[in-house]
């Protein structure tokens, strides 16, 4: 039986997904969606413990996905937005919609993203 924590990556940059996959593969059971709509469907089917969510994506953007996840799928899953949209209004919007953290993609090394997620998730589990 697979006991690894389920991690869903919702990200349209396929190269970056491959980097994340490599970084996270030993510690997590990884699921991937390349657009917002598919991400939402996969979130409902898989019920991941952790979601890495991009914002600027085809079909549904990350804000819409997050809103739907929080309202209809899982209010408690750890959702970390990792986006290149670094403006304050976007960060505030993401946090207001229920993200657990918001990292500006270009400024965070994927290994840094991995460390941050591990840290937040262990904090969330123990609280």
């Amino acid at each position: 039986m697979n006991t690894l924590t389920k991690l869903l990556i919702v990200e349209d940059d396929r190269e970056l997904v491959e980097v994340y996959r490599k970084v996270f593969q030993n510690d997590y059971d990884i699921y991937v969606s390349y657009d917002g709509e598919e991400g939402l469907i996969k979130a409902a089917n898989v019920l991941p413990n952790i979601i890495i969510l991009d914002i600027d994506m085809p079909k549904l953007n990350g804000f819409e996905v997050l809103k739907a996840i929080r309202a209809n799928i899982d209010p408690d899953a750890l959702v970390v937005i990792v986006s290149n949209l670094g403006e304050e209004e976007n960060i505030k919007k993401g946090m207001k919609l229920g993200a657990d953290d918001y990292l500006v993609k270009a400024n965070y090394d994927p290994i840094g993203v991995f460390k941050r997620i591990k840290q937040i998730y262990s904090g969330k589990k123990s609280s």
């Binding site: 940059d13 970056l16 980097v19 970084v23 600027d56 270009a106 400024n107 090394d109 290994i111």
Partner: protein, 226 residues
């Protein structure tokens, strides 16, 4: 060119760099197998260059965004408590750049100073002074921020932990991509951005204090108009 198109171009240039940066880190960590020491050095140089390029794109995008703000937004005065304002800037910067969690910030000075200023340009200037100080300082070092009242001026001093810049080069620091003012870690644009935005702050001055033993202290002074 339409700023929206320029912004889109910036985004498209930046996006692949994120993956490239990730691959370089993975290679360096040995995720694709052991690599020789000489290759590690090359990868480290590539990593530094990629980060510098990302910083340049980000800083240029920020400048474009600031310059395309409506004039009334840039001139909108608000009363600001400088200590609280600086704390907010530091806090939000910590989520913005990975480097910001690798240094310490110490903010001290007069907690009562309140100024009425165009808040958007002030935020821009302080954010970029902070970015510059952080990027040029080594991991684990401390950046000191002081808020002072001096005669009829308030001063915000930000002291980095970078090697001292020779007094002869200070005048080049605010030029974009200046070779003489080049400091390791800097995008070459932070201080240029600061100077551009200072133009929107009436009677404000920005500069570098020349005579400290180590580190470099940047300041912005504003008329005290409480």
């Amino acid at each position: 060119m339409d700023p929206k198109i320029l912004s889109k171009i910036m985004h498209e240039i930046r996006a692949p760099l994120t993956a490239i940066r990730g691959y370089i880190s993975l290679l360096s960590e040995g995720s694709f197998g052991k690599i020789p020491e000489e290759s590690k050095e090359v990868l480290e140089k590539l990593h530094v260059d990629v980060i510098k390029t990302i910083y340049r794109i980000n800083d240029f995008s920020a400048l474009l965004k600031c310059e395309n703000e409506h004039e009334e937004e840039l001139q909108k005065n608000e009363s600001v408590n400088l200590m609280q304002f600086m704390n907010l800037i530091v806090d939000s910067y910590k989520t913005e750049e990975e480097k910001a969690v690798e240094v310490e910030y110490e903010i001290s000075g007069d907690e009562s100073i309140q100024v009425k200023v165009p808040v958007l340009p002030l935020k821009f200037v302080l954010s970029f002074l902070l970015k510059h100080a952080t990027r040029v300082s080594k991991k684990g070092s401390r950046i000191n921020i002081q808020i002072l009242k001096k005669d009829n001026l308030c001063q915000i001093l930000i002291k980095d932990a970078a090697p001292k810049i020779g007094n002869e080069n200070i005048k080049f620091l605010f030029e974009p991509f200046s070779e003489k003012g080049d400091v390791e870690g800097s995008s070459g644009l932070e201080l240029f951005n600061c100077q551009k935005a200072t133009n929107y702050l009436p009677d404000a001055k920005i500069g570098v204090l020349p005579d400290y033993d180590h580190g470099n202290t940047y300041y912005i002074s504003l008329p005290f108009n409480n």
